[in-house]
């Protein structure tokens, strides 16, 4: 599915393949019993980002048009590079021995909220606030980038 997403030449189909692989990743989270994370994954990625991509594709592209095929030499070179990296990483993973531990307690959403907003040991309140400021800045920046052009033309 992911391979189809990066090689499909019709751009809208590529977006849908990406959506399928993101949903499969959410299914992995549900299987590991991190239900909150799976829900976040589905809402943010499958709900938000895919819709953004579809809007961008529809605004920017003629849908029928096919993407330009990269040259064969470039494809082969990049595939070899990726396979080399893949081999090295897999070798490292399999030569390292992991100590798998059994879970002794279960978590629910309340624990995640307490941890995120905790100020004590292991609390994540500072990164949480920083990330909220970052999101606000990104939103304002997106609006200014999308709107600023006209204003400049008018004033000059």
């Amino acid at each position: 599915m992911a391979i189809a997403s990066v090689t499909s030449r019709k751009i809208l189909r590529a977006v849908i393949y990406l959506l399928m692989s993101l949903l499969a990743i959410a299914a992995i989270y549900f299987m590991m019993e991190y239900n909150f994370l799976g829900a976040v994954q589905m809402a943010v990625y499958a709900g938000g980002i895919i819709i953004l991509f579809i809007f961008a594709v529809l605004l920017v592209h003629q849908i029928e048009g096919k993407l330009e095929e990269p040259s064969t030499g470039r494809k082969i070179g990049m595939a070899a590079f990726s396979l080399l990296g893949l081999g090295i990483t897999l070798f490292t993973i399999y030569s390292h021995e992991f100590k798998v531990v059994e879970a002794t307690k279960a978590f629910d959403v309340k624990d995640i909220g307490r941890g995120l907003l905790g100020t004590g040991e292991g609390g994540f309140i500072l990164p949480f606030e920083v990330i909220s400021i970052l999101l606000l800045a990104a939103m304002i920046g997106a609006i200014i980038i999308a709107k600023g052009q006209k204003k400049e033309v008018k004033s000059s």
């Binding site: 990066v6 751009i11 994370l37 330009e68 990726s82 292991g122």
Partner: protein, 105 residues
């Protein structure tokens, strides 16, 4: 943890996904599809955080917090990048990387 699935299999899956995304990022010539490949890369790192948290340190939640932060950063980055791409398209009527040389010099 998942029944009958070892950590090696899950890490192999994420490694495969990561290098598929890398291949897509290196071969695509369209800005939107490159952004999709970046999404795939970020997602694999999130799965790695979660898997290692679940299999090796199941009594803490640090990996989950970090994955939530990564998801937030990815969402912000995608929104910004898409607004830049749409603006660029208005300027140039193209989203090909070979034709976007405005900031090159």
């Amino acid at each position: 943890m998942i029944e009958n699935v070892s950590i090696y299999e899950l890490l192999t899956l994420t490694t495969l996904l990561f290098f598929i995304g890398l291949y897509g990022f290196l071969t695509r010539k369209n800005l939107i599809t490159m952004l999709m490949a970046i999404e795939l890369l970020l997602n694999t790192s999130v799965i790695n955080f979660v898997v290692i948290n679940k299999y090796l340190y199941p009594d803490v939640l640090q990996g989950v917090y970090f994955s939530i932060f990564i998801i937030a950063v990815a969402a912000a980055e995608t929104a910004l990048a898409i607004s830049i791409i749409i603006n660029l398209y208005r300027l140039k009527t193209s989203v090909d990387i070979s034709e976007t040389e405005t900031m090159k010099y």
